[in-house]
């Protein structure tokens, strides 16, 4: 079906002088195409054509190749034209005839746009990559060649393809949705690669902006996907959660930053001043729209009283003109402008009336009912003018303003008001319910293609056995194939750890009492820290004034002076904080023969002893554990935080750890770094204890997560944080060395000795 549609689109129009039988036509095209090639290449090209013709792919593929590939000679070079045959053949074998037939034509489009043969060959390599890994999706991509090559450089194209492959793993259906732009993620990453300013790029500074202005910290999310076209998507505020579209189409660079800022400031104004919801009652859709519009103006009015500069931010978006046809949507934009722009003059009686009523109430702006009253009246007036209002196509303007869904209380009115003028309200209700559904029951959205909503509804879903804390934070992940981090790619979710038996930890210490003694002895002598000045030294880099004076006094008194007249600096106090990050993936359940227990159990024993040492040393420390279930669900368990004591509940959490799921190490390390970075000690150490190579269910490429972890290690070292890894996999040297660097890894080959080795290692590391 798809194939025929395609054929329709790119149908080969037989030219009048072309013979009608396919065989004859091929001969005709080859004769004609040959003339494009320098003579030494002609025979090669002819051979390529005939090879395709004899391969049994049908008549259309060689025809398409013979017709289009010669064009590449002039744009690029003869080799490109000839080599294309191999790619066409690959597409025919791996994908289908439609794709193979389309490829030569798409290649010409790409070559025309890319112009250089280097760029073209990287384009074709990415196409081949796609053909190998997601054959079902290749056609969709080829069909969009124009859009792709005119927006993305070949590198960026590859990065976008990889984002698709990495986020859909092996799921063909999801791949197709991604590569045909049905999945909103696709557009998002496309725009990201296109270098457009997407919300993600601005999120942090805009959140800080809201804090700075109002001390507001609303949860901010990507907008839940909807079917509405991008240009009609608006910010939406539901129950205090602000959802923001990833892009505002048409707003680039500084403009994009401005509209996101204006939008968040508007949302902030609502959060500050739209404190009570309006009840729907018997309001008509136009009245609902008007009340919302007036409420927008009211909250902005109040916000501008506090922050006059906000006017500069919002005003440029109000571009309505006081002329033109008096259609309701246009009148609404004029009214919006009249309510914010004091210079704006509009002769329209209705707009004037709205403006007068609004500003007459100037002294009563804190009262939202004024919006309701004015809105209802203005709505009636429009009704009397018989002006048409189509609630289905209405979107709030200017685009920085939110959809105002959050202003209305839909609760008690379901089922009523289903007259034919209630569509707008119905539309609003449905959306409202969608949002509610999405965030409450998530059981069946497991296979939903909308991952955004999964993310922020994660709290109510997933393992029913685990309560989950509020924290779900997105992190970038590094793709070594593109050499760049993909923002917001993974999600670390903090789960409450299970409670185990705290005495178990005490028993471990009892069992290892010899070791505990050795640790205690070592503690006496351990030192790490900021330089401290030592006086009264026999060597040193500066004189100690007091000692010098004493020495001279002694000499004058005829005594032998004390030669220790120097001062020096030395690191004396321990000034170090440590975060121990434990891998508790499923493989830690493996049984270790020599110790007659599991790896996890050994990890626990080792960590208990280590924790004992750290708490005795008074080093600030934290313990956390991680495992992962795909990129959207990297479990993170806080066993002990830096600020909390190492008490029985911390020990109970430690004892309660269970081995499960996979090992997405990089994300867990990023999350751990957040805590470590806040530590003010001279040294900060991330100590990772892991039993296996980073891996996850949605990642096939073994190297990918290793490279990400390596990238994380390097970027945290730039923050002044040291990392060290204790590997529990005898064969793990190679990848651990790669991630952490040779010097920063110890592989424990005799696992039964881990409980002993870990604390000792700690002393060595921190001495």
């Amino acid at each position: 079906m798809v194939a025929s549609a395609t054929r329709g689109k790119y149908a080969v129009q037989p030219q009048s002088q072309e013979p009608s039988s396919p065989d004859e036509r091929l001969i005709y095209l080859i004769d004609k195409g040959k003339t494009f090639f320098p003579s030494q290449y002609q025979i090669l090209w002819e051979r390529a054509c005939s090879k395709l013709a004899k391969a049994g792919y049908g008549a259309l593929i060689p025809l398409s190749y013979a017709r289009h590939s010669p064009k590449l000679v002039n744009i690029l070079n003869p080799e490109a034209a000839i080599n294309l045959a191999a790619s066409v053949s690959l597409a025919a074998i791996k994908v289908n005839r439609a794709a193979a037939e389309l490829l030569p034509k798409a290649a010409v489009v790409a070559a025309t746009e890319l112009k250089s043969s280097h760029a073209f060959s990287s384009w074709i390599m990415t196409i081949e990559e796609l053909v190998h890994h997601a054959p079902e999706s290749s056609l969709a991509v080829l069909e969009r060649t124009q859009k792709i090559v005119s927006t993305l450089t070949p590198d960026r194209f590859r990065s976008w393809v990889l984002a698709g492959l990495r986020s859909t793993s092996d799921d063909t259906l999801r791949q197709i949705q991604y590569f045909s732009f049905v999945d909103p993620e696709s557009e998002k990453w496309f725009l990201h690669e296109a270098g457009d300013v997407v919300f993600t790029n601005l999120e942090r500074k805009l959140k800080l902006y809201l804090i700075s202005l109002w001390n507001l910290m609303p949860p901010v999310r990507d907008l839940v996907a909807s079917t509405s076209p991008l240009s009609m998507r608006r910010i939406s505020i539901t129950n205090g959660v602000v959802q923001v579209p990833e892009v505002f189409p048409g707003f680039h660079d500084e403009q994009a930053e401005k509209i996101f800022r204006a939008g968040l400031a508007h949302a902030g104004a609502h959060l500050m001043y739209s404190t009570k919801k309006f009840t729907l009652g018997e309001l008509k859709p136009i009245q609902v729209a008007l009340v919302s519009l007036l409420e927008d103006a009211r909250v902005e009015y109040l916000a501008m009283q506090a922050f006059p500069g906000l006017r500069e931010l919002w005003l440029p978006f109000h571009t309505a003109k006081p002329s033109g046809p008096k259609l309701v949507p246009l009148l609404l934009t004029r009214l919006s402008r009249a309510l914010i722009d004091l210079e704006y003059r509009d002769r329209d009686g209705w707009v004037q009336k709205g403006r007068d009523m609004f500003f007459d109430a100037q002294n009563d702006m804190t009262n939202p009912t004024l919006c309701r009253n004015i809105g209802v009246l203005l709505g009636n007036d429009l009704g009397q003018l018989r002006a048409q209002f189509n609630s289905k196509t209405y979107v709030v303007e200017p685009p920085y303003r939110d959809d105002n869904m959050g202003l209305w209380d839909f609760g008690d009115h379901q089922g009523e008001d289903e007259g034919d003028d209630g569509i707008f309200i119905e539309a609003m209700r449905t959306t409202q319910e969608d949002i509610k559904d999405d965030s409450s029951s998530n059981q069946d959205s497991e296979d939903s293609d909308d991952r955004d909503e999964q993310q922020y509804s994660a709290r109510e879903s997933l393992d029913s056995e685990h309560r989950e804390s509020e924290v779900a934070i997105r992190y970038p992940e590094y793709d070594f194939l593109t050499g760049a981090e993909r923002p917001n790619w993974t999600c670390a979710v903090e789960y409450f750890p299970d409670f185990g038996d705290a005495y178990k930890i005490d028993r471990i210490l009892e069992k290892h009492s010899n070791l505990v003694n050795r640790i205690t002895n070592l503690i006496q002598s351990a030192n790490v820290s900021l330089p401290e000045r030592l006086h009264h030294q026999s060597v040193g880099e500066s004189l100690d004034l007091d000692a010098c004076i004493n020495a001279v006094i002694s000499r004058r008194m005829g005594e032998i002076p004390d030669p220790r007249i120097y001062s020096t600096t030395e690191r004396k106090h321990r000034d170090l904080s440590v975060l121990v990050l434990l891998d508790v993936s499923n493989s830690t359940n493996d049984y270790v023969q020599t110790a007659d227990t599991s790896i996890l159990e050994l990890e626990l024993q080792a960590t208990s002893l280590l924790a004992y040492a750290m708490s005795e040393l008074d080093d600030p420390f934290a313990i956390a554990a991680f495992c992962s279930d795909g990129k959207e669900d990297v479990h993170y368990y806080r066993i002990k935080d830096f600020e909390s004591p190492y008490d029985s509940s911390a020990r109970a959490y430690l004892a309660g750890l269970q081995g499960k799921l996979s090992t997405r190490m990089g994300t867990a390390m990023r999350h751990a770094t957040r805590d470590l970075i806040a530590q003010r000690t001279h040294r900060r150490l991330l100590l990772v204890v892991s039993d296996g190579e980073p891996s996850d269910i949605d990642v096939e490429d073994q190297q990918y997560l290793v490279e990400d972890a390596r990238y994380v290690t390097r970027s945290i070292s730039r923050l002044g944080i040291d990392t060290f890894c204790v590997g529990l996999d005898g064969s793990g040297d190679s990848y651990l060395h790669k991630i952490f660097g040779r010097k920063n890894v110890t592989v424990i080959d005799r696992l039964e000795r881990l409980p002993e080795r870990l604390p000792m290692l700690y002393f060595r590391l921190t001495a």
């Binding site: 902006y209 700075s212 400031a265 922050f307 004076i549 006094i553």
Partner: protein, 265 residues
């Protein structure tokens, strides 16, 4: 030694934020050691100067630092052609002659240095000069004041419990907006309205405390901004120079702060 030069003759400008003046006067009656807590630049130093003036006592201020030794506080023998002479340190001078001794940022000093004040801050009120074999009884007017900023000190750098518990404490914070504006106007010479705007702007920065900033803009920073404005610098430039750039190197925070300041204008 004559402490006249340590007397403050002109009334320092100090605008009370609360009842700290009365509290301090009451504490002084018993010469109770006092600890002034509060963020940097909120007026602690100015307050001490003001109280010293009000009580007509000389004021000796010592800024503490990591390398400071007990001798730096107490005194040491120095050499001259004849032999050695003892030289009183600032603390000893204050103890002997009845001055107010203000140890600024005491936590910066090493613990073995800060313990020399222990015998002065309990009911003994003596200072022993071990090297000189002398015990100095504190003059009846002597009082010790320390400042202590709990905010940016890490857990590791804190006063000993036995030190802390020798002091009464007064908590300082930024003055309320009207007072703060008055102070800024007074110190810089700009008009009250502009000063009020600067205070309003400072709230944008104080909101970010804990979200990437360790402290919001202090009164001192606001005064700097105001002084720039008094020289004809525009509000936005003055804020950039005095309030935004010094406080952080994080570009997102700078951007948020500058934009919020623009919104105030």
């Amino acid at each position: 030694m004559n402490l006249d030069s340590y007397l403050i003759t002109d009334e320092p400008y100090y605008s009370p934020t609360h009842n700290e003046v009365q509290l301090f006067e009451a504490a002084y009656v018993n010469r109770m050691p006092m600890m002034l807590k509060g963020p940097t630049g909120c007026g602690k130093t100015r307050f001490v100067e003001y109280m010293a003036w009000k009580l007509k006592k000389p004021l000796i201020t010592v800024s503490c630092h990591e390398d400071m030794t007990a001798s730096d506080l107490v005194g040491r023998y120095l050499l001259d052609s004849e032999g050695t002479i003892w030289h009183d340190g600032p603390l000893t001078i204050a103890v002997r002659q009845g001055a107010i001794c203000y140890l600024d940022e005491i936590v910066e000093a090493r613990q073995d240095t800060s313990v020399v004040i222990h015998s002065l801050t309990d009911d003994r009120r003596i200072l022993s000069l071990e090297k000189k074999n002398e015990v100095v009884k504190a003059h009846q007017d002597f009082q010790i004041i320390i400042s202590y900023n709990p905010g940016y000190q890490s857990v590791l750098k804190d006063l000993k419990e036995s030190t802390k518990q020798r002091f009464g404490a007064i908590d300082f914070n930024y003055p309320n907006p009207e007072d703060e504006a008055k102070i800024i106007a007074h110190e810089s010479g700009i008009d009250n309205k502009t000063a009020a705007k600067l205070v309003y702007i400072s709230e944008r920065s104080r909101n970010l405390k804990g979200h990437g900033l360790d402290e919001g803009a202090s009164t001192r920073m606001l005064i700097y901004a105001a002084q720039l404005m008094a020289q004809g610098v525009s509000l936005e430039d003055a804020c950039e120079v005095a309030l935004v750039l010094p406080i952080t190197d994080d570009h997102d925070i700078r951007n948020a702060l500058s934009s919020a300041i623009t919104a105030c204008a």
